[in-house]
């Protein structure tokens, strides 16, 4: 993981999460805006996967348990598509809130992943 990129992802995820949650609480059904934020989070996570695969070849390897790191990352990658798909089917304002909560959860997971990568010892 690269710290500035992790921070950027967390910022995007928090903004997307707060935005979708607020839109949902304001009774808006899922929209391009609320789902677009989640989609962006998902794309960035895919870039994160690439970084995590390639990193060790450049001397950037996790200090903690790599399996634990990947368990988090795989869980995180699954969440945006599932949340978006579900919101497209359900189309209620609570679905919008769920998309927001999903983005905020990913922000927390990114924080945990950064800790496993940099602080925790294997």
């Amino acid at each position: 993981m690269i710290l500035w990129f992790t921070i950027a992802q967390i910022v995007v995820a928090v903004i997307a999460g707060v935005l979708a949650t607020a839109l949902g609480l304001a009774r808006r059904p899922p929209s391009d805006l609320s789902l677009g934020g989640a989609a962006l989070v998902g794309v960035l996570l895919l870039a994160q996967v690439v970084l995590a695969i390639v990193g060790p070849a450049f001397g950037n390897a996790p200090s903690g348990n790599p399996y634990e790191f990947w368990a988090y990352l795989v869980s995180a990658v699954i969440i945006p598509p599932v949340a978006i798909l579900w919101a497209l089917i359900e189309r209620s304002r609570w679905a919008t809130v769920v998309v927001g909560i999903a983005c905020l959860s990913i922000a927390i997971m990114l924080y945990r992943m950064e800790i496993i990568w940099t602080v925790q010892s294997a």
Partner: protein, 144 residues
């Protein structure tokens, strides 16, 4: 006396904000299961107590997710029991992690009252109980 031709429709418990609750429990179940499986399979001797609790957390979250979605009085009670245990564990492990950190050379999701997860593990069972107390299953359900 007429017998009903079909079983009466069970009240769908998950409406509105309950959906959000189930989603959060589902996300926690997913993350906790992945994490604890890896921890137990690859690193168990490092921190057996912590990782066993990690596994227990995954089971609790999966059970809570299922119990919140499934209709009927039985699952309603299961949900109450599960969420009560969840709160008990958060408070117990949280306190232990502070007064006797040696027990946990590795963090668990419940360490420091879930501080490493923005206190979600602490707040969630409380919200779950609030929701359950306001959404009892319909009393005219047959066979539950």
């Amino acid at each position: 006396m007429t017998a009903p031709e079909a079983p009466p429709r069970r009240a769908r418990r998950i409406t509105g904000i309950g959906v959000v609750l189930v989603a959060v429990y589902g996300i926690l179940a997913l993350a906790a299961t992945g994490r604890s499986t890896v921890q137990i399979l690859t690193d168990f001797s490092e921190a057996p107590l912590a990782y066993a609790l990690s596994g227990l957390a995954a089971v609790v979250y999966i059970l809570a997710t299922v119990a919140l979605v499934a209709p009927g009085r039985f699952w309603y009670r299961v949900a109450w029991v599960t969420i009560s245990f969840e709160l008990l564990f958060v408070l117990t492990v949280g306190t232990l992690s502070i007064v006797d950190a040696q027990l946990f050379p590795r963090d668990t999701v419940w360490s420091y009252y879930g501080l490493g997860y923005v206190l979600v593990p602490l707040v969630l069972p409380v919200l779950g109980m609030l929701w359950l107390s306001r959404h009892r299953p319909a009393s005219e359900e047959i066979g539950s």
